[in-house]
């Protein structure tokens, strides 16, 4: 059979996609609402991590943002976390107690691209929300202190917030060649650095494909033996937010979720939050209609390209890539690669550099999309279905339940 045959393609991609339970019934949400309220009250009762507190309202004012801008963001974030609209007040309150959560952000074998994306994030951006209001105790790119002073700040933060801070890691870790990354006056290797900081963290969040799966540095022949955080850190809850760069909306989403619940969100087998990585690019792609109609770009600049036809034949990996770019987009929702006709490169999937990257249309490529089970696999099916990490409650005031249902199947059904 010709794999680019229209009927064949249609059959492939019109199968039911991932099942994500976005309606768990009134009783479940009522209970969840109460739990979140309690959690927020506890956080509000705490002192902010930093002494000099500026009210959230004041921050908005400084940044010339109106309450309306903020509420727009609240709606978007609530929807992204797959919560019903009545949770919006809670999400708004969560943003306001963000300064109770200490953050340490480190860079290993990186390009600073995720930090860059973050600084260009949604409005009211992480410029306000994370960078400003969230207590970033240490960040190698944006902080003012340098050199020894910075090292002392880091050690102090680790001591002061032992077991309480969220550790964000950007960049892969060169296990095979420790010399490829060293840091500090008494040089520490990347592995030592990450292990040490993870040991004292509440949870570790790997930002970007490098920190999640090794990313570009791990591409064949992996000259430095680079791996992701989950291959180095054991015994701590880990959340992967892959993509190159990671979408800032997903980073904020994870933090808001943590604030609301004290837990990490429901994850897929690759430890990615399901709220962000539960659907394929293809499922919500603006060019999907052209795919279904069999209208494809055959060459850059052709009639199809001018009319925004489907990019599948140009090597777009949207059908095999789990991410929410098609909804959230980049640079404050300005655009995304498919929007300019470049096609998806599958950057939130492991090893995409070697198997997914660029010009090879899947149609005539030897690769097996998601974990060898074909494109109809859902996010849960590929991989081992390990959801154990989600069951680990983290943080100082962990409350019992999380948003999108912990042990998906049995428990939630009972609650409903």
């Amino acid at each position: 059979m010709n794999i680019t045959d229209r009927e064949h393609l249609r059959a492939l991609f019109t199968k039911p996609t991932n099942y994500i339970n976005t309606n768990r019934g009134d009783a479940y949400y009522r209970e969840l609402y109460k739990k979140m309220e309690r959690r927020l009250a506890e956080l509000r009762a705490q002192k902010p991590v930093r002494e000099a507190e500026m009210k959230f309202e004041e921050y908005l004012k400084v940044w010339e943002l109106t309450r309306r801008d903020f509420l727009k963001w609240v709606s978007a974030t609530t929807a992204m976390l797959m919560l019903p609209p009545q949770f919006e007040p809670l999400v708004a309150q969560a943003a306001e107690v963000m300064n109770r959560i200490p953050i340490i952000w480190i860079n290993i074998q990186d390009c600073a691209g995720n930090t860059e994306a973050l600084l260009r994030s949604y409005s009211p951006t992480v410029d306000e929300l994370i960078l400003e209001y969230l207590s970033v105790e240490y960040h190698e790119v944006i902080m003012a202190a340098a050199g020894d002073q910075a090292e002392q700040n880091l050690e102090k933060a680790v001591k002061d917030f032992d077991g309480k801070y969220l550790l964000f890691v950007e960049g892969s870790i060169p296990v095979g060649m420790p010399e490829a990354f060293t840091i500090g006056r008494h040089p520490k290797t990347g592995v030592e650095h990450v292990k040490h900081l993870a040991e004292h963290a509440a949870a570790v969040i790997a930002v970007g494909s490098c920190a999640a799966f090794g990313g570009v540095p791990a591409a064949h022949p992996n000259p430095t033996g680079a791996v992701g955080v989950m291959d180095v850190v054991k015994g701590k809850p880990i959340i992967n937010i892959p993509a190159c760069p990671a979408n800032p909306a997903n980073i904020t989403g994870v933090v808001i979720h943590y604030i609301l619940t004290g837990e990490i969100p429901e994850l897929d087998s690759l430890l990615r939050p399901k709220f962000a990585f539960g659907y394929r690019i293809h499922d919500n792609c603006e060019r999907r209609a052209h795919f279904d109609a069999g209208e494809f770009v055959e060459e850059w600049g052709d009639f199809g390209a001018k009319n925004n036809f489907c990019l599948y034949k140009m090597g777009c990996k949207g059908p095999f890539t789990f991410n929410n770019c098609s909804i959230v987009r980049y640079n404050e929702g300005t655009n995304w690669p498919i929007g300019v006709g470049r096609g998806c490169i599958g950057c939130s999937e492991p090893n995409f550099w070697d198997v997914y990257a660029t010009e090879r249309p899947i149609a005539d490529s030897p690769i097996q999309p998601p974990a060898g089970r074909g494109v109809e696999s859902t996010v849960d099916q590929f991989g081992l279905g390990v959801l154990t990490a989600t069951a680990v409650g983290i943080g100082i005031h962990a409350v019992a339940s999380a948003l999108a249902g912990k042990k998906d199947k049995e428990e939630n059904k009972e609650e409903v």
């Binding site: 860059e116 410029d127 944006i142 050199g147 990354f181 850059w300 655009n335």
Partner: protein
């Protein structure tokens, strides 16, 4: 025994370290250590040539777009050398220039307000500068805001920033409408407003006709550039931080700058005269070496055997801009002049971007298919591009569409690489003779440190 002090400078991404050797209160020798390595050149080997378009922008989260342009040009040059020249449509060239311009502007804005001004906060400790305080200061926030705004221009044409891959051999994949162009133009205009009001204190076109320091100080209203000049003078940074007084620029950009090398006189640039020397690098011809005298993952780069500075200042000098020729006569290539050239480029790029956007004709093509499939192409190609920090060179060797060798020389390798047997790197040279640690760091930062590009 001279006192050896090692300072870790970590305010830019990655971990560039500065080791200083002191004698009689002055820096006798300086080592710029780049300890972070990923191995892009090895990863690219044996991959399909077009994969480089997606892999290379990931070298850097700040100037990745320049890597995309250099890669595209290298592959186009490969076709040309194989006798199959691609006539890239004018529209595509303009779009590439516009997006590159946007990246340069965002970089300079961020760099000036997030890295340079905080240094003066440490020097001055005065309340007058509280607007420049990181995170809290009004100007700091404005700068972050506007540097985010200008990259939306890249998002309009390139889909996302950082890490876009929309430029391909033969043109660009986007096909912007008049609406897209208008949107881009309005963003540029808003940044022009910010630059006029905050940075230059005068109309941009008037600023571009300024030919001397006195003229600028007289004509401009209160502005950040003016403040910066006064502070440099107050702290003797107007004459400190001199390097070799040699400048290199590898390509032209209409309305913005022209290529060339300037030693005493300006000459043409020939890529054949560029050499990399690995005697102090961990990376050698025959693999890795961690001998004691080696101290950086970067290699030294020399043109005709000599170290050259490549930077916005080099672009101003090679374009024979009157203002900078005059500044150079008076101050030589000092901290203040090097910095001023970067700030100056914000105005020049904004002006050029407006011209470029107006020159686009949406009805004409943005892409022309290359005359042959890449799988049929063998040979060598060179891609030259001017990035935010200076000259970027990509060289590749391809056999039947598969990369056999890839070499990347970044601006930071020119400026911040290690020494060779004969010469210190331009930044190392600029730091020697300085009498304080903070100033040594500041002078290093005047080269706009980017450690991930230095080593890649």
């Amino acid at each position: 025994m001279p006192k050896v002090r090692k300072t870790v400078l970590n305010r830019v991404e990655g971990e560039i370290q500065l080791k200083l050797v002191w004698e009689k209160g002055k820096v006798k020798d300086a080592f710029i250590i780049a300890p972070n390595f990923r191995g892009f050149e090895f990863i690219l080997e044996e991959k399909p040539a077009l994969d480089a378009l997606v892999i290379n922008p990931r070298i850097c989260g700040i100037c990745g777009h320049a890597h995309l342009i250099a890669t595209t040009k290298a592959i186009e040059n490969l076709y040309e050398n194989a006798g199959l020249k691609i006539d890239v449509p004018k529209n595509a060239k303009l779009i590439r220039d516009i997006t590159l311009g946007a990246e340069i502007i965002q970089n300079h804005l961020r760099w000036f307000y997030m890295f340079v001004m905080p240094d003066f906060l440490k020097l001055e400790k005065s309340k007058k500068l509280k607007d420049f305080e990181p995170i809290k200061g009004y100007k700091w926030q404005k700068a972050v805001d506007f540097s985010s705004r200008i990259v939306k221009v890249i998002a309009i044409f390139g889909g996302q920033w950082p890490h876009t891959s929309y430029s391909v051999p033969g043109g660009v994949v986007c096909d912007p409408t008049t609406f897209d162009l208008t949107e881009a133009k309005s963003i540029v205009d808003s940044v022009v407003g910010f630059a006029q009001q905050e940075i230059f204190g005068m109309d941009i076109e008037d600023y571009l006709s300024v030919s001397s320091e006195e003229e600028y100080l007289k004509k401009s209203k209160n502005s950040d550039l003016k403040k910066f000049i006064f502070m440099c003078k107050k702290h003797q940074l107007d004459h400190a931080g001199k390097s070799y007084h040699r400048f290199l620029t590898v390509c032209d950009m209409e309305y913005a700058f022209s290529k060339g090398i300037t030693k005493k006189k300006r000459r043409n640039f020939y890529v054949e005269k560029v050499r990399e020397i690995d005697s102090y690098s961990y990376l050698t011809e025959n693999g890795f070496s961690f001998d004691k005298n080696r101290y950086s993952w970067a290699k030294a780069v020399r043109y005709n055997g000599l170290p050259y500075e490549t930077s916005p200042l080099s672009r101003r000098i090679n374009s024979r801009e009157k203002l900078f020729i005059n500044l150079l006569k008076h101050y030589r290539d000092s901290y203040m002049v090097r910095m001023w050239a970067r700030i100056d480029e914000i105005a020049r790029m904004l002006y050029a971007m407006k011209m470029w956007i107006e020159s686009i004709k949406p009805s004409e093509p943005f892409y022309i298919p290359p005359p042959a499939d890449i799988k049929e192409i063998s040979g060598k190609g060179v891609g030259l591009c001017e990035a935010a920090r200076g000259s970027l060179i990509h060289q590749l060797t391809v056999e039947k569409g598969i990369i056999k060798k890839y070499n990347i020389i970044t601006p930071s390798t020119w400026n911040l690489g290690p020494r060779c047997e004969k010469y210190l790197s331009p930044a190392e040279k600029a730091i020697t003779g300085i009498d304080s640690q903070l100033k040594a760091e500041m002078i290093l930062r005047s080269f706009d440190v980017c450690s991930v590009c230095t080593t890649h």
